[in-house]
Each structure stands twice: as structure tokens, then as C-alpha cells.
Amino acid sequence: MNAPFSAYLSGIRGGVQELVRFLRMKYDYVSVLATDSCGFAVRISQRSRSVSSETMTTERGLVVRVCRERQYSEVALNHFDASSPASVAAEVEKAVEQQRSLLASVGTQSYFTPLLPDEPLVLFAEKECEILPEQTDLKELVDWLTILSDKGMSHSPELLDCVVTAQSTHICKLFLTENRDLSQSYVYSEGTVVAVANRDGRTQTGYEGVSGLCGPELFSQLEEKAEKSVATALELLDAGPIEPGEYEIITTPEVSGLIAHEAFGHGVEMDMFVKNRALGREYFGKRVGSDLVTMHEGALCAEDVTSYAFDDEGTLAGDVTEIENGILRNGICDALSALRLGVAPTGNGKRENFEHKVYTRMTNTIFESGKDSLEDMIASVQYGYLLEGVESGMEDPKHWGIQCIIKLGREIRDGKLTGKVVAPIIMTGYVPDLLGNISMCSPHREVFGTGGCGKGYKEWVKVSDGGPYLKTKARLG
């Protein structure tokens, strides 16, 4: 079935069109993004349970963007009365002009930006899913997740908890300008299993997740993940610290995805180029990785949590080849930054929600696959680690440093896994070295979308990332 477009947004469409028309009399450019996204989040633990209708991306509201004298302003509100667009237009104008008056009194200069193009475009996209979040049998889901949690706990008395979460969101967005009328509706879902184990006061966790551009039918995959999560938590109770140093490493697809995200995901967000905050600007056409490194970014690259039809500025979704055989080719860009840089936007203008500003943000960031089997990769390592599971990462586009917190490492000596596990691991290094040392890639590739991504320490959005198993070298501590 197709995920149906929001009745609420359909109902206010006429009022929003009028709002655009009224404001267009005062401003050179006007756009409105209206959102109505609903969903649910279920959390089952041995100690507490909850059901909520809120996920990271549920929202209902409206953001108006206007431009006059090459200066862009926005007003976000969520009490839009579709029957009084003129009064809303007056409210928007009053708010913007009050701010402009203050800015003038302080002597603030503008960063002038050309007018956004507004070629006619009509799009109505309803993506497919089997079950809608709003039609899900939550009783059945709660009961099943409870069984999963109980089953996970049965594996060991050392387990403190097995927390299972399932959430699904039906995204609906309407983007209108004088000449554009874009509507989209899609559903994405994600589920996680966190096993918590304790021995002698030392606590460890295992984490597994599933995600996809689909409805709650996804959650059937959680059963297999629960087993893995429990096994990891118990295994970590026996893990020792790693001897700091530089090692040959093999990254699992999840860790490869984290590297993709932190290395040349953030590294080529072109709003950072406008501020001269990213080294990548000087490296287009230059080598930043080995011949085996090809990386894609875009909402069309994969079907996961952020695979939309158009972004939050009304730019159609894309698929950008960022790195091709080790050579940096393209960046990703929101619409205003694209105007400032004189390039085409790539469909990567995203907001945390209607209340937030647009920044250039990632969608699906993925390494291409290779031809080496995992067995051959392990056999080629004299002394190193197979790195599994991710905790977090941090970008550094200006200096190309990278920090990845990895769940665990499995020791490899003389081409064989020894059974020894070390944890936790902080992987650091210089991005071109890390990518330049990639010497093997597996054909198997996976995409992960259970996490969120911040810009600095705020502006959280959904992203997915992934890749194949990769062999390279890195500093581990």
C-alpha cells in the first residue's frame, strides 16, 4: 500500500497557498514547509515499559522562509489558522521586521545571498509500506516485544536487563512556493535491543538495531538481533583493555559506516565550505583515499530512515558520488549554500524539525563494495583487530581528524581470530591516512539507520550509513 498523505496538510494547503501569495506581495521569495508526522515508540524493559506517540521526527508545524534585499529570514509557528492567512502573513512580517529593526540598531551587516530559483514543479509522492504506524496493533507488538525481552533474559543470570524498542514514523511534508507544490508521505521504522550484563559491579551492554524505509513489519527482524545483543553484552564482561598502538584493522559494515559518516560525510557538507570550515574544499579532484574507496551520499542511495523524495527546501533527492576510486569528486549542499558557492543543490537541506534552521546534512552515506572475502581479509592480518559495534563518532572537517568509539575488537594474530576480545576502543587518526590505507573491501554491504546525527552538539536528524568490511590501519586506544 502507499502511505497516504496527511489529511491535515491537505486541509490547510489552500490556506498555505494564500499565505504564500500574501507574503509574496512584500517579499522577493517566499516558501513554506508544513509538516505533519505521526508515529509511535514502544520501549519494553524488565524494569519498566512505556508507549509514546512521539519519536525523534514526529511533528506538526510550519516554517515560513522569506527573502528581501537578499537577506533571508524565517518564522516557525504551529498555530496556523488556514482560514486567516492574511493575519498569519501580518504576524510573520511583524516578527521579521522587529528583528531587522534590532539588527539595524546594532549595525549588523548582511551576508547577501542571491534569490532562490523558483521554477515550476509539482510532485506528489506516497511511498510504499505494508503497515502504517497509526494502524499498528500495539497490543500485539507490546506482547511480542515483551516475549523478546524475556527470552533475551533467559540466556544468563548475569543479565540485568534486555531493553527492546520499536518505533515507526509516518512522515508527511508539504512544500509550497509561488510556483512549487511538493507533497510527500513515507514511513520509516527502527528497532533496537540493548542487553545489559553485570559481573562484580562491572556493567557492559550489547547493542543491535534494525531500520528501514518501511512500516512496523520491520520488527520481525529483532528476534535475531536480540540473540546477538545478549551474546555481545556477556562477551564484554570478559573483555580486557587494548594495548594502545597502531594496528591493522578490519571494520565491520557498521564501523565502516561510522567512518564514512565522520570522514567524508561531515567533511563535504558544503555549508561548511561557505564558512571556510572544511578542508575538503581544497581537495576536489585530489586523492583522499586508496583506489578501493568509492563513497556515495544521498536520499536515493538506499532505502532507509531518511530516503525522502525532496528535502526541507524543496530540492529533489539525489545520489552524489563523493569519492570515486580514492579521488574526492563532489560535496553535498543545501540550497542557500549552493547559491553562495555557485553550485547546484544536492537535496541535502535538512531541518531537525520545522522549528529549526536548514543546514547541509547527510542522508545515506555509504562505501561501495569490493571483491575480497572476509576470510581472506582476516587471513592477511598479522596482528590486528576486527572492530565491531559503534558507540559514537565525532567529525573534524577542518583538520580531518576522526574519533570513533568502538564497542569491541577481536584480536587477529597470524591470520586467525584468537578469541581474545578487547573493549572499549577509541579509534583516532587522520582521515586521508585511514582511507588511504584501505587495502581490501568485501562484497557484502549493509546499511544502518538507528542512530542520529548532530551538527556540532545540536540539530539532531536521522541518517543512515554503511558499507562493506574494510581492511585498513588505525590508531587504537
Partner: protein, 426 residues
């Protein structure tokens, strides 16, 4: 819409309910260098409703929550509340009761002038002294006034208004064709121009040093000094471990009246929850569930004295006098900052992202700038990382007598952890 929701809830047969209505008026300004990139206004209302269901035998209680948009029709609002009642019936938790009114708490609804507050930030940032070698790359100013009303079925009906501001700044330093950047994020109630200016000048100094930093040596185990806002991460570990959710879930085994560490080689920690700190963005009279916030000693000389946390988990532990605090104060230790700086030690002033995992106790951070004091001389270093476990480090913490405030935290201005693993790159 709020009145409509309350009317439905009061007529309904649900066991209990909570409603929170937050109206935010915000002004935002985004700058590239000192040129305005974009200005934004926000006027939004978020009404959150939580409904509780008690099973017929009284053995289990469930809850479900949702946000009801201010644009929802009356029919939609009623349908959402009915849906919540059903969803709550699917959840089987141990029963607990909601907070009751505390007449002593009062209310606080000061008038906040966004234009004045925003103007103060704009002028402060405009006037920060810059040089050819150190300047501001970009910044974002967020100023808001939040009006919060909280009601529950026990009769709580409270309202408070508070300011909430943030400035995010990127500072550049350059020399001989090489440029670096530093990221700073300052939160506060309203504009504290003196502190903001001081911290930005300090960031510029840090930038100068990073330009000449050498590779961090491979130190193995070393003493590491924390003298920036990153110390809050260390102290948050202790607050998290005293949270009733952690205790009830057995992720913390800290017992009231008992020491949190078998033996202390360094200072013994004392941490308090405090209702108010000067210009904190987290000054509140009530917590998220309507409990009155007050000053209370959480940890006294290394001995757990008071748990904190939400109503459900506190109730499960049989505790009544608990709440979710928003400001914290860590007492100073027994060493002057100067004494703590006697080497050898590594003072890390810039991490990529310093983290302390409250569950496992693991600490991590990639070093962007540190000062390595080998006992004779001090040099700026960069690269590599630190790691360790609070489970063992807690017994070897040394705190300065001097304290400093970072928004909603007062912490010792210097905190020394002994025996941290330092992975160098030299």
C-alpha cells in the same frame, strides 16, 4: 486547546494524568564572520499529555503519552486522549502515585524582553576583540523565553517562565598559512557579557597554542588534568549513578550512607543539587513532573546521601522526597589549582568529544589540544587520545579548592585524574 484537553481528561475515567504546556518565543541569529546569514523567529506551543491506567486488580499500572498539536480539532484531541487510555492499558508496570501539590513552592513568571536579551548578545559578539591571527569564523545566537504550565490529576497546577539562551561560536587562529578552528557552545539564562567575552578570549589563546602544538607523546599511564567545561562530564557520572532509575535497574550499586569507593587516595567528592545558580538556563522551581526542586546534598565526602530521579523509579525504591534536579554544585577539594598543576601531567583543554559512559564507567576523548608538563617544561601537544574507567579513577581524583560555573554546573576549576591511559602519536 489546553482547556479542551483538561476538560476531556477531567471527564475521563483514566486513573491519573499529567499535562505540560510549554510556549516558546525564540529569536535566533546566524552569522558568517560578523555578517548576518539568517534571522529567525519562533513562536510555538507544545502540549504533552500522559495518561495512566490502573489494572482492575490494582496490580499493574501503565502509561502512554503524546503531544496534542494546538491546531488539533476537538474531535482529534478527544480521539488522541482515548487512544492514550487504551495504549496505557497495554503497559504493565508496578503502580505508583503522582506528585501532590506543594503549596510552599510558589511560582515565578518574570517578564523577559527578547529584544533586549538578543541585543545584548549581538553587541557582545560584535565587540569581541579580534586580531589578524585570531578571529571569529561564525556564530549562532539563540535567545528564548519559555512559559511552562504543568498540571496533574492530583491537583498540581503550576506555572513558571524562564529565559534560555545559547551562543555557538567557531574561533579561528592562523599563522604562517596554517589555520585551525575551535568550537565553543555557551549556555546561559540571558547574556552574561563579561563571561562570554572572557571565554572567547581564552578560546583564542587556546587556538594560538594549537597552531604550535607537537604530537602527543605515548605516555602510557599519566595524570590528566581537566580545567575546562569538560569536567562536567566527569561529575555527571556521579549524578547519574545516584539516579533512582539507575539504582532500580541495578546499573548502580551505590547505597545511601555508604562510600562510593572502597578507598580514596585523593579527594572525597561532595556534590549538591541546587535550585538556583546565577544566570543558569536551568533555574526551575519545579521538575518535569511537578515536584518542587530544592537544595539537597547528594554525595558528602564520598558517601551517597540522597538519590534523585523521577517519580516512578523513586516510588519503586520507596522514596518520597525525590525530584529531577537541573543545577549541580561540586564542592572544591583540598588543593590549589597551582598545586594540582605540578607535573608531570597532561592538561587537556580541547577534546574532539570527551565522554564518560555512566553505565560502564568508561571515559574517552581524542586530544585536540593539551599541555604536556614533564615536570620541567610545558609544551602544547595534539593528537592521540585518553581512556580509562571511572570505576578505578574515582579513588584517585584530586580537586582544586577554586570552583567555576559552567551554566548549570559549579565544578572545581581543576580536576586531576591519576593513572589515565594516554595513547600518543609521537
Amino acid at each position: 486547546m489546553l482547556d479542551t484537553i483538561l476538560s476531556f481528561l477531567r471527564r475521563s475515567t483514566v486513573a491519573a494524568w499529567e499535562v505540560e504546556d510549554v510556549i516558546t518565543d525564540g529569536w535566533e541569529f546566524y552569522f558568517i564572520r560578523h555578517a548576518l546569514d539568517q534571522n529567525r523567529v519562533k513562536h510555538v506551543e507544545h502540549i504533552s499529555v500522559k495518561v495512566f491506567h490502573l489494572s482492575d486488580d490494582g496490580e499493574t499500572m501503565g502509561f502512554a503519552s503524546c503531544e496534542i498539536p494546538p491546531t488539533a480539532s476537538e474531535e482529534d484531541a478527544e480521539a488522541l486522549i482515548n487512544s492514550l487510555a487504551y495504549r496505557a492499558s497495554l503497559v504493565k508496570n508496578k503502580p505508583f502515585t503522582l506528585h501532590k501539590p506543594d503549596l510552599a513552592a510558589g511560582s515565578s513568571c518574570p517578564s523577559i524582553n527578547l529584544e533586549n536579551a538578543a541585543g545584548a548578545f549581538l553587541r557582545t559578539m560584535r565587540d569581541v576583540p579580534e586580531t589578524l591571527e585570531e578571529d571569529i569564523n561564525s556564530y549562532e545566537i539563540f535567545v528564548s523565553s519559555r512559559k511552562r504550565r504543568f498540571l496533574n490529576s492530583e491537583g498540581i497546577d503550576i506555572e513558571e517562565v524562564y529565559p534560555d539562551s545559547m551562543v555557538e561560536v567557531v574561533v579561528n587562529a592562523r599563522r604562517s598559512g596554517r589555520e585551525i578552528e575551535l568550537y565553543r557552545n555557551f549556555k546561559s539564562g540571558t547574556c552574561d557579557d563579561v563571561s562570554l567575552r572572557r571565554d572567547l578570549l581564552r578560546a583564542m589563546q587556546t587556538g594560538r597554542d594549537r597552531l604550535v602544538a607537537e604530537p602527543t607523546p605515548a605516555l602510557g599511564k599519566a595524570d590528566v588534568l581537566f580545567s575546562t567545561a569538560d569536567s562536567r562530564e566527569i561529575y555527571s557520572y556521579f549524578v547519574d549513578r545516584l539516579n533512582t532509575a539507575f539504582v532500580y535497574r541495578k546499573m548502580s550499586d551505590w547505597q545511601l550512607g555508604q562510600s562510593i569507593c572502597p578507598s580514596f587516595g585523593g579527594d572525597r567528592l561532595s556534590i549538591s543539587a541546587v535550585r538556583e545558580l546565577p544566570n543558569s538556563s536551568a533555574n526551575r522551581i519545579y521538575d518535569t513532573e511537578g515536584a518542587m526542586i530544592h537544595d539537597v546534598l547528594l554525595l558528602e565526602n564520598g558517601v551517597a546521601r540522597h538519590y534523585i530521579g523521577n517519580r516512578m523509579f523513586s516510588s519503586y525504591l520507596g522514596l518520597e522526597d525525590t525530584f529531577v534536579p537541573t543545577n549541580f554544585a561540586v564542592s572544591g577539594g583540598t588543593w590549589s589549582e597551582a598545586e594540582l598543576r605540578h607535573g608531570p601531567l597532561l592538561e587537556v583543554v580541547e577534546f574532539s568529544d570527551f565522554q564518560v559512559d555512566a553505565v560502564t564507567g568508561d571515559i574517552f576523548g581524542e586530544i585536540r589540544l593539551a599541555y604536556w608538563n614533564d615536570g620541567e617544561k610545558t609544551v602544547p601537544v595534539t593528537g592521540g587520545s585518553i581512556s580509562g574507567s571511572m570505576l578505578t579513577l574515582v579513588g584517585n581524583m584530586f580537586l582544586s579548592t577554586e570552583t567555576v560555573q559552567y551554566n548549570n554546573w559549579v565544578v572545581p576549576s581543576a580536576t586531576l585524574l591519576k593513572g589515565v591511559t594516554v595513547t600518543g602519536i609521537a
